[in-house]
C-alpha cells in the first residue's frame, strides 16, 4: 500500500469507494497489513479484529456494487477507544480490572457507525480508564507517538491519536473528560473534537466523570471530523444527559471561509495564567495573524483564570470518578496501574460539600464564559503548553500533563477542537498544533502544540486547515 493511500482522508476515500474506484475489501486488507507491519512499534491497538473487518468490508462491497451505497462511511475503516462497547468484544479500558469484560451490546455510537456502513478494525489503547497513563504496568503497553516513538502521544485517547498519525485508519472515536481527545490530537498532529456536552450519546461508554464526559471524532482533517460527527450526533433517550436538539448539516459549513468571523483570543491562558513554551506561543500568534489575514476579526478576550477552571473541573472529576471506582479501589487496588490508582484516589477523601460547591462554582464560570462569548463566534487559545515530552520522562510527564487549557471547555460543555498549525512553515518545523473552527455560535477553543520531530501525514493535515481558511 502506498503511503498516499494510508494517509488519504475519509472524504476522498469515500468518493473513491462510492465511484467504485477503490474496493473496501482491498482498502481494509491494505490497512490491516500496515497495522500488522507497524503497530508493534506504536501499540495503537489493544485488539485487532481482522476477520470481522474483512467480513464487514465484503458486505459493504457487495451492497455498493449492487447500488446500495449508504453514505460516506459505507465501507470505511474506523477504530474505537477501548472504553466504547462493541457487542461480543471485550471492553477493557486498558485495565486488568476489566480484562475479559465482554460487551453484551453496542454503545450507541457503535450502533450509529455500524448502521452507516463503517468497518471496525479493532479496539484502541487508552490511558487506563481514560485517566491514568502512560503506563508500563498494565496488561498492554502504552501507545507511542508515530512522529517519534520515544515521545508521549498524549492521552487518554492515545491509540486513536497514534493510529491516525501512523496511517492505520482514517477515523476513530475518542473520549474527553479533561482534554483526552484534544491532547493526543495536538501531540499526534491530527484533528480531534470534543462536541458540545450532550450532543453525542454516552450510553455504552465506560464513564470517567458523568458530567464531564464527552465522546467525539478524531480524524486527520476537519472535513472528515464533520463527517463522523454527522453520524454519531443526535438525541438518545437512554442517555440522561443527551440533548434533544436537531443535528445540523456540519459539512455544509465547511466552505464558508472565515471572512467576517469574530475570533476571541484567550491569550491570558498561555501568557499569564500559565507561561506556554515560547515556540508554542509563537505559532499560536502566527495562527491568529493568518486568521486575520483571511478576513476574520480577531480580538483578545478575558475569562476567569485557567487555574479556576482546572480546580473546578478536577474536583468534580475526582468526585465523580471515585463514585465509579470506589468498590474496585477498596477490593482490588493492586489491579490498577500506579498512575490511574493515584489519580482516582484523589476523590477518596473529598467531602460532599466540596463537590457541591464545585458544581455551583461551575455555573458561575459557565455564565462568565457565556458573557465573554456574547460578541464573538469562536475563541482561540492554546491546548498544550509544551511539546510532547519523552514517554519515559516521569518528571516532564508529571508537569506537562497539567499544563494545558483544555479543561475549561469540559467545565462549560462547549465544543472544542484541537488541530494543526496555522502555516506550512510552522507545520514543517513543528508537526502538532492547532486552532479552532465554528460549528455554531456557541463554539469555543482549541490550540497548538509542537514536537521536535519530523512530521508524517503533513499534507492531509494542512489540507484540513486549508479547507477551512481557503
Amino acid at each position: 500500500m502506498s503511503g498516499d493511500l494510508a494517509y488519504l482522508g475519509l472524504a476522498e476515500t469515500a468518493e473513491l469507494i462510492r465511484a467504485k474506484k477503490l474496493s473496501p475489501v482491498e482498502y481494509v486488507t491494505a490497512l490491516l497489513a500496515r497495522i500488522e507491519r507497524y503497530d508493534a512499534k506504536y501499540n495503537a491497538f489493544i485488539a485487532l479484529t481482522p476477520e470481522r473487518a474483512l467480513s464487514a468490508a465484503r458486505a459493504a462491497e457487495a451492497d455498493i456494487t449492487a447500488g446500495r451505497w449508504r453514505g460516506p462511511l459505507h465501507g470505511m475503516p474506523y477504530a474505537l477507544k477501548d472504553i466504547i462497547d462493541v457487542e461480543g468484544l471485550a471492553t477493557t479500558a486498558h485495565s486488568k480490572i476489566l480484562k475479559g469484560n465482554i460487551a453484551r451490546r453496542h454503545a450507541v455510537v457503535t450502533e450509529r457507525l455500524e448502521a452507516a456502513g463503517g468497518v471496525l478494525l479493532g479496539k484502541l489503547s487508552t490511558h487506563e480508564f481514560a485517566i491514568g497513563g502512560p503506563s508500563f504496568d498494565l496488561p498492554w503497553p502504552p501507545a507511542r507517538n508515530p512522529w517519534n516513538r520515544d515521545h508521549f502521544c498524549g492521552g487518554s485517547s492515545s491509540g486513536s491519536g497514534a493510529g491516525l498519525a501512523a496511517g492505520f485508519f482514517p477515523a476513530a472515536l475518542g473520549t474527553d473528560t479533561g482534554g483526552s481527545i484534544r491532547n493526543p490530537a495536538s501531540m499526534c498532529g491530527i484533528t480531534g473534537m470534543k462536541p458540545t456536552y450532550g450532543r453525542v450519546s454516552r450510553r455504552g461508554v465506560a464513564p470517567l466523570a458523568f458530567s464531564l464526559d464527552h465522546i467525539g471524532p478524531m480524524t486527520r482533517t476537519v472535513h472528515d471530523n464533520a463527517l463522523i460527527l454527522q453520524v454519531i450526533a443526535g438525541h438518545d433517550p437512554s442517555d440522561p444527559a443527551s440533548a434533544n436538539e436537531p443535528v445540523p448539516d456540519y459539512g455544509a459549513m465547511l466552505d464558508q471561509g472565515v471572512r467576517g468571523l469574530r475570533i476571541g483570543v484567550i491569550q491570558h491562558f498561555y501568557t499569564r495564567d500559565v507561561i506556554g513554551n515560547p515556540e508554542q506561543v509563537e505559532a499560536l500568534d502566527a495562527a491568529v495573524k493568518i486568521f486575520g489575514g483571511a478576513g476574520a476579526e480577531t480580538s483578545e478576550i478575558t475569562l476567569p483564570a485557567l487555574q479556576d477552571f482546572s480546580a473546578c473541573g478536577q474536583i468534580i472529576l475526582a468526585a465523580e470518578a471515585y463514585a465509579v471506582h470506589e468498590q474496585w479501589l477498596k477490593e482490588r487496588p493492586q489491579d490498577y496501574g500506579a498512575r490511574a490508582r493515584e489519580r482516582l484516589l484523589a476523590g477518596a477523601a473529598l467531602r460532599a460539600v466540596d463537590y457541591l460547591q464545585a458544581v455551583r462554582w461551575r455555573l458561575q464560570l459557565r455564565d462568565r464564559v457565556a458573557a465573554a462569548f456574547a460578541d464573538i463566534d469562536l475563541a482561540l487559545t492554546a491546548s498544550s503548553m509544551d511539546p510532547a515530552c519523552r514517554i519515559d520522562d516521569d518528571e516532564a510527564l508529571a508537569t506537562n500533563y497539567w499544563r494545558q487549557a483544555r479543561m475549561p471547555f469540559n467545565v462549560t460543555g462547549q465544543p472544542a477542537w484541537s488541530f494543526r498549525p496555522a502555516s506550512p512553515r510552522a507545520a514543517c518545523r513543528s508537526p502538532c498544533s492547532s486552532s479552532a473552527i465554528p460549528l455554531a455560535k456557541r463554539c469555543s477553543t482549541a490550540s497548538r502544540n509542537s514536537m521536535r520531530t519530523r512530521p508524517v501525514g503533513r499534507s492531509a493535515i494542512l489540507r484540513s486547515f486549508q479547507t477551512k481558511v481557503g
Binding site: Q314, E326, R341, A346, L350, R360
Partner: protein, 60 residues
C-alpha cells in the same frame, strides 16, 4: 506511612492499600488540597447546582 494516614484510609474503607498505595493516596490528597483552596466561599445560599432533582414525568 503515618498511622494517621493508615487510619484515615481504613475509615474510608480502603483497608487493602499497601505502603505504596498509601503514598499515592497522600500525594493525591495533597494535590486535591491545592484545588480545594480555590473554591469560592461567596456563593449565594439560594444558588442551586444545575442538576437539581427533577421528578420523572413532570408535576401532576
Amino acid at each position: 506511612m503515618t498511622q494517621e494516614l493508615r487510619d484515615k484510609a481504613c475509615a474510608l474503607g480502603l483497608d487493602r492499600l499497601t505502603e505504596e498505595h498509601l503514598a499515592q493516596l497522600e500525594r493525591a490528597m495533597t494535590s486535591m488540597e491545592r484545588h480545594l483552596k480555590r473554591l469560592p466561599r461567596d456563593i449565594q445560599p439560594a444558588q442551586e447546582p444545575a442538576h437539581a432533582y427533577r421528578a420523572k414525568g413532570g408535576a401532576p
